[in-house]
Structure formats: structure tokens, C-alpha cells
């Protein structure tokens, strides 16, 4: 109990000036209690965008996929590109937070929650795209009735549902102590549903040694399990392309290429979300330049990995220059897609790499700029993989063209709105910073570590100190 006592003083002395830890809790919990008109008009705006997307989709259901720009020869388009993109973003989170947790990197403690959060939300949005893309959404059940495990699409179904379940658990586990914190700290100021929700979600957490051991064990297991699951997800996403005989995508490097691209775009997404939340929720004290610079280094490293992947892909096929490869290289590098392709290479890999390389530009502003460039470029890369891959003629015919219609753009816009909406709403349900982990890694305030032991046990809040874990 000696160890526990150090954590048990949270509100023991209410009159002392707010300590570092109380400030943290205040900052982290404040958004849960407030929601001004700006917040609600933001939500209303997102809902309007989603409503428009639903209208667009309803025309598609009514008339068929004829309302899209897709046709027989380029039969996948914006939707599948969106699928790959969002599933890619989802890698940010869980993989990043699991790897950093596993390697015991301390600096990321304040951003793991956001990372895991992006994973869950991006997966939910990304998984919608293949359903939107179906010609017969009414027969979705056939996937479960007649599913063939030999089909790459079924691998996607298995992998994504596993990953979604796993990453929800992985988001939830470290949330339990924070839910308890909300339950104890928000108290009567919270609304009724909030009190009910926090009580239920905290699973009776009081921070006893046994509970902490159980949590620690569960998190270790999830952390180890989630890494191979995450890798498998983007590998099988790439295999819906690589398992076919089409020239540009018939590639052995595709699995690794997609996983690398996924982590790359995921890191960029985290950096952007981090910057936005930091500004909106005034988290400057906890998300400092350290987090940006460290993630920036990671992003920089991945520009190199992506560059290497592109090199492997294009040099090995380009050296031999088979017929389909020649067509593909022409359309990509000098033909109709040259602008997009070179933006991806230069704007998405070279420039962000240089921004991070130069100490003068390696600032928060510079790194966020690099992240925005990377995210846009990775979206373009996904689009290019889908569309240019299909465009290489299989037989002697004129290459087809594809232009997304307003329906596809609207649905895509709706997906981004849904992404933002889920983040905005979930951001009200739990603290976006993992309070107990940040506290644990900073350690209790020296002046308060001598709090009397007898006060502690019945007042345990949902936090714990580093002393509690054997």
C-alpha cells in the first residue's frame, strides 16, 4: 500500500495552487464538459456534408453504378482508392503506438491515445468504401453465406474485422483508468448520461495492484498481437491488386510497399491531428516540439523507405520494359498522369524529406507542412495505383479514361466528413491524452509525494503512479 498511497491524493488538498498533474487533468477533461456553439455548428456542417453524400449514394443505389465514372475497363476508381487510403491511415495509430510502447519510447505517451483513436476511426470509414463500391449492396450477406476463403476480398474481410476488433480493444484498455478518472473527477458537473457512461466504461476501476497488473498484462498481449495483425491488413489490401495478372500491380513487392505507405501516411495523419487538437484543446504543454520532431524523424525515415520501395518497383520493371510496363511508364511519367505522379515523388517524398533533414525547417510548422504534403501525395499515390493499373490495355483497344463524377466526389467528401465527425464526437467521450500514462511517466510531484497513506485507499482515483507496477 505504500506504493499505492503515492497516487491516492489527487484531491486531498483542494486549496493548494493547481499542480502540474491537476492542470493536466483539467486540460484533458475540459473538452468533455464543454461544447460551445462553435463545436455544434462544426458538427452541423459535417452532418450536412454527410447528408449530401448520402443523397449522392442514394442516386447510385437507384440508378446503379452508371452514375459513377467507372466503366468496364477502369472498373475501380475513387472508392477503392479511398479504401486503400483510409485503411492506410489506420496504420498510424495502432502500429505506431504499439511499436513505440514495445520499445518503451517515453516521448510518445501523450500521443498514443490520438494515434489509437485515428486507427479505429479510419478503419470504420475505410471499411465502408468496398460496400459503397458494390454493384449489389443488397447482397452483402452473400459474403457470409457463400464466402470463399480463396478470394483476396475475403482475406480483407477477415483481416479488417480482426484489426478493427483488436484496435478497439487496444484503444479501450488504456482508457479504463482514464474513464475512472472521468467518473471521479467530473462528478456532479457531468450530465447524467456521462456519469452513467463513465461508471459503466471504467469497469469498477479503482487502481488496485491486481487491477493494474491485469491491465498491464492485457496491454502487453494486445501490443504484441496488434503489430502482425496491422501488417497483415495492409498486405492483404495490396493483394486485391497484386493477386491479378495486370502489369503494373502484378508485383511481389506490393505487400511491403503498401505497408510502408500505410505507416507513412499514418504518421502524417497523426502529426496533422496532433497539431489540430493541440491548438483547439490548448495542449501545448503536453504535446511539445519533442513529439513533432520525433514523429518528424519517423516521417523522414519513411520518405527514404518509400523512395527505396519506388526505386525497387520502377527500376526492376523499367529495366526490362515489357510492353505493358512501357505503356505504364509513359502514362505515369510523361503522359496524362505525369503531373500527379511527379507531385507524389517530389512533393510527397523529396520535399518532406528535405524539410525534415534541415534543422532550420525542422520546426512544428515545417513538420506539419511536410505531413500535409505527404498525406495529399499518398492519396494521389493510391489513386494512381488503382486507375493507372487498370488503364494499361489488356487487348488491342484504345486505353480507357476515367473521370470521377460528382457522386464519387460527394461520397468521398462524405467519408472525410464522417472521419472528422467521429473524431469530434469521440473526442467528447474520453480524454484525448492518456492521462494516467503521462502522469506515470512524469512521476508524481515531488512536493506532494509525502501525502499521508491513510487518506488514500478509499479515495483512489483512476490514476496510478509508476510505483504501483511491480
Amino acid at each position: 500500500m505504500v506504493a499505492l498511497s503515492r497516487a491516492g491524493f489527487t484531491r486531498a488538498a483542494g486549496n493548494v495552487p493547481p499542480s502540474w498533474r491537476e492542470r493536466l487533468e483539467g486540460r484533458a477533461l475540459r473538452p468533455l464538459a464543454t461544447g460551445g456553439p462553435a463545436y455544434f455548428s462544426w458538427l452541423a456542417f459535417l452532418l450536412a456534408v454527410m447528408g449530401w453524400a448520402i443523397y449522392a449514394y442514394s442516386t447510385q443505389v437507384d440508378q446503379g453504378l452508371i452514375v459513377t465514372g467507372m466503366r468496364d475497363r477502369i472498373s475501380w476508381g475513387l472508392y477503392i482508392a479511398g479504401f486503400v487510403f483510409f485503411i492506410g491511415i489506420s496504420h498510424a495509430g495502432t502500429l505506431l503506438s504499439a511499436i513505440l510502447r514495445a520499445t518503451k519510447a517515453r516521448w510518445q505517451m501523450s500521443i498514443t491515445r490520438m494515434a489509437e483513436f485515428i486507427t479505429v476511426v479510419a478503419l470504420m470509414v475505410g471499411a465502408l468504401f468496398p460496400l459503397i463500391d458494390l454493384g449489389r449492396p443488397d447482397r452483402l450477406l452473400h459474403v457470409f453465406l457463400y464466402g470463399r476463403w480463396q478470394s483476396p476480398l475475403l482475406w480483407d474481410v477477415f483481416a479488417i474485422t480482426t484489426y478493427l476488433t483488436g484496435s478497439m480493444l487496444y484503444l479501450y484498455l488504456p482508457l479504463v483508468p482514464d474513464f475512472a478518472l472521468c467518473r471521479d473527477r467530473l462528478g456532479p458537473t457531468a450530465q447524467r448520461w456521462q456519469r452513467w457512461f463513465f461508471r459503466a466504461a471504467s469497469l469498477g476501476w479503482t487502481g488496485t495492484v491486481r487491477q493494474r497488473q491485469a491491465l498491464e498484462r492485457a496491454m502487453t498481449v494486445m501490443m504484441v498481437v496488434i503489430i502482425p495483425v496491422a501488417v497483415s491488413v495492409h498486405t492483404v489490401v495490396s493483394w486485391i491488386f497484386a493477386m491479378t495478372l495486370r502489369d503494373p500491380v502484378n508485383s511481389t513487392v506490393f505487400g511491403a510497399f503498401f505497408v510502408a505507405g500505410a505507416i507513412f501516411s499514418g504518421i502524417a495523419a497523426i502529426i496533422i491531428l496532433m497539431a489540430v487538437l493541440r491548438r483547439l484543446l490548448h495542449l501545448e504543454e503536453y504535446i511539445t516540439e519533442t513529439q513533432f520532431v520525433n514523429l518528424g524523424y519517423l516521417l523522414g525515415a519513411f520518405t527514404l523507405i518509400m523512395g527505396y520501395m519506388n526505386l525497387s518497383e520502377y527500376v526492376t520493371t523499367g529495366y526490362k520494359m515489357e510492353e505493358g510496363t512501357r505503356f505504364h511508364f509513359q502514362q505515369l511519367m510523361v503522359g496524362p498522369f505525369a503531373g500527379l505522379f511527379w507531385f507524389y515523388i517530389i512533393g510527397g517524398l523529396v520535399i518532406p524529406g528535405l524539410i525534415i533533414l534541415r534543422p532550420r525547417t525542422r520546426t512544428i510548422k515545417g513538420i506539419v507542412t511536410a505531413a500535409v504534403l505527404v498525406l495529399v501525395a499518398m492519396w494521389i499515390e493510391r489513386y494512381l495505383i488503382v486507375v493507372t493499373g487498370f488503364r494499361v490495355p489488356l487487348m488491342p483497344y484504345q486505353p480507357a479514361d476515367y473521370l470521377p463524377t460528382w457522386v464519387e466526389w460527394s461520397v468521398l467528401g462524405g467519408a472525410f466528413a464522417l472521419f472528422a465527425f467521429l473524431i469530434s464526437v469521440f473526442g467528447k467521450l474520453f480524454p484525448v491524452i492518456s492521462v494516467w500514462e503521462v502522469v506515470e511517466h512524469r512521476g508524481p510531484e515531488p512536493s506532494r509525494s509525502k501525502a499521508p497513506a491513510e487518506e488514500a485507499p478509499h479515495r483512489m482515483t483512476g490514476t496510478m503512479s509508476e510505483g504501483g507496477i511491480p
Binding site: 446503379g64 453504378l65 472498373s75 480463396q150 478470394s151 491479378t244 487487348m395
Partner: protein
């Protein structure tokens, strides 16, 4: 054995009990055998709605135990094909296929491509579904809507297809077509009872393609395309009987293929097509190899197909 006997239908009542069951078994229904989940799925699959939809056809009419199995094949003699320039009409194989199957515009289940010859000039290549024996499309289908029959024909069950179009991505011959909108078919198409062997009436949001007309063959008739070819360039037959015919002559299939240095499209992919080509550029019918161009295909009922939309490929 005469040609007539070769193409005779199987005795009535000899249809096996369930094609789908056999088919699924062969595809490894292991995934469905996950204990109670498997039972649940089995119960759901026997549900009335779906069973009515996709009927016990699925091209196993000829898969009678103890009887020789047909292995349908096609030979296209490119020496005889001039893209129907000599008759001054749109390619008649395509045209007859469209009319016989009510293929919605712009689908050309057998399409006459104009290939460039290495020394200049053109070669007309009528291209139906290649009926691969290692079919990439069947491999990737998530719901077994497209499948190989025991006779070696690749069919699509449009009552099961979910419209994901991964088969169209997988097909290396560009031989799959999607009903992007309400498929334009003439009103009389609605009289037909649906069967994957003729795919009519067409279903919105599903994939279609050449079905190799085994139903016609079993009834002693050649496929529409073979019958319509003015130069009799298309042979249809059975690898098992080792016979094929273009409607005018009967050939011993293996010898015919060997003696005319036959080849298959994209042989290196290992898809093992059942469609063979005899190299040529219409020289058998006096085609000038430098004269390209064919007439545009027509879909004669387009005006009569109410409320239907067309699209381009």
C-alpha cells in the same frame, strides 16, 4: 460417331442431385465448416429466397456419373476472318451473339479486336471468353458467383454476384462486362427463365460474359457466333470426343490444332484457355492485310428497351 450424336443432349432425368453442393465441396468448403457457424450458414443457404434464385443449373447437366464428360472447346481460324469486310456488315459473330443472348449494349461477349501485325497490317481476332481451365476470375470471386463447370465452362450466377468487380480486374483478356445501369434488353427477354448458361434476363449491378453456349451444344446446335460466321472460321467441339465442327466440316480436334500450329492468347500466363487460334490474317478469304476497320456493332432493340440506360466501355 457422327457429329449429331456428339452434340446430343444427355438423357432426361439424369441430372445429378445438386451441382452447387458438389461444386462447393470441390472449392474447399473448409471455411464453412467452422462448427456451428457452418451449420448456421448451411441453414441460411437453404433458405427459400436464394435457392429459388439460382436454381440447380450451374452447367452440370452433362455431369452424369458414368458418362463421358464433355470438354467444350473452340478453334478460331484467323485465316478465314476478315472482320466481315467481304460481306460489308458488322462482325457477324458479335452480331449473332448479341441477338441470341440479348447482350445489353455495349457488351460484345465475342469482340473482334484488330491486332497489329509485326510487319505492318492488321489481323482480326474474334475474342470470346477464353474459358480458362485455370481461371483467374474464378479464383478471386469472393462468393463463388463465377465458377467452372465440370465441362470446363466458366459461368456466372447473376443471382449470387455482389458486383464487386474483382473478377474484371483479374481477367487478363478484358472479357467481362458489368451492368453499370439497368441493362438494356428487349421486353421479350423477360419471358426467359433465368439460367447462368444464358444469363437472361440481365441483372443490374452484376457481371456478364460469354457463356460458351453449352446449352445450345447439348441441343445439337452450334453457338450463335459459330453459326453466324459467313466464312465458317469458328469451330466448336469437344476435346473428349476429339471432334469439332464449323457447321460445314468435322475435324479431328487434336490433329487440326497440331497441324495448323494453333496457339492460345497469352499462353505464358498459364490460364489454360479452351479457345484456340490458328494464326492468320484473313488470307483464306482474300483479305488485304493492310485494310483495317470493321463496321460498328448494332444493338437492334435499344429503342424498345424501356427505361434502360446505355454506357460506353
Amino acid at each position: 460417331m457422327t457429329n449429331r450424336e456428339m452434340l446430343s443432349p444427355p438423357p432426361a432425368g439424369a441430372v445429378p442431385k445438386s451441382g452447387r453442393r458438389r461444386f462447393l465441396k470441390s472449392l474447399g468448403s473448409g471455411v464453412l465448416a467452422l462448427g456451428s457457424l457452418g451449420a448456421l450458414v448451411g441453414a441460411a443457404r437453404r433458405g427459400p429466397g436464394i435457392e429459388n434464385g439460382s436454381a440447380p443449373h450451374e452447367g452440370v447437366h452433362a455431369a452424369v456419373p458414368g458418362k463421358r464428360l464433355r470438354r467444350w472447346a473452340m478453334v478460331i481460324d484467323l485465316r478465314q476472318c476478315d472482320g466481315c469486310q467481304s460481306v460489308d456488315k458488322p462482325p457477324q459473330c458479335t452480331q449473332a451473339c448479341i441477338e441470341g443472348h440479348f447482350a445489353p449494349e455495349p457488351m460484345q461477349w465475342i469482340e473482334v479486336y484488330e491486332g497489329e501485325l509485326p510487319g505492318g497490317g492488321v489481323q482480326f481476332i474474334p475474342t470470346p471468353c477464353q474459358q480458362c481451365q485455370n481461371p483467374p476470375c474464378v479464383n478471386v470471386c469472393p462468393v463463388a458467383a463465377t465458377f467452372s463447370t465440370p465441362e470446363g465452362v466458366v459461368l456466372i450466377d447473376q443471382d449470387r454476384c455482389i458486383g464487386c468487380r474483382i473478377c474484371m480486374e483479374a481477367c487478363p483478356y478484358d472479357r467481362r462486362f458489368f451492368n453499370w445501369g439497368q441493362p438494356p434488353q428487349p421486353p421479350e427477354a423477360l419471358f426467359v427463365e433465368y439460367d447462368p448458361e444464358h444469363q437472361t434476363p440481365a441483372r443490374k449491378g452484376t457481371v456478364m460474359k460469354c457463356n460458351f453456349c453449352p446449352h445450345l451444344a447439348r441441343a445439337g446446335r452450334l453457338p450463335y457466333c459459330a453459326r453466324a460466321c459467313p466464312n465458317n472460321a469458328i469451330y466448336y467441339g469437344d476435346l473428349e470426343e476429339d471432334l469439332a465442327t464449323n457447321g460445314r466440316e468435322v475435324v479431328r480436334l487434336s490433329r487440326f490444332l497440331a497441324e495448323h500450329s494453333s496457339y492460345r492468347l497469352k499462353e505464358h500466363l498459364g490460364t489454360e484457355p479452351r479457345v484456340f487460334y490458328i494464326p492468320g490474317h484473313g488470307e483464306g478469304v482474300g483479305h488485304d492485310s493492310y485494310r483495317g476497320g470493321r463496321k460498328a456493332t448494332q444493338w437492334p432493340w435499344q429503342k424498345r428497351a424501356e427505361g434502360a440506360a446505355t454506357w460506353s466501355r
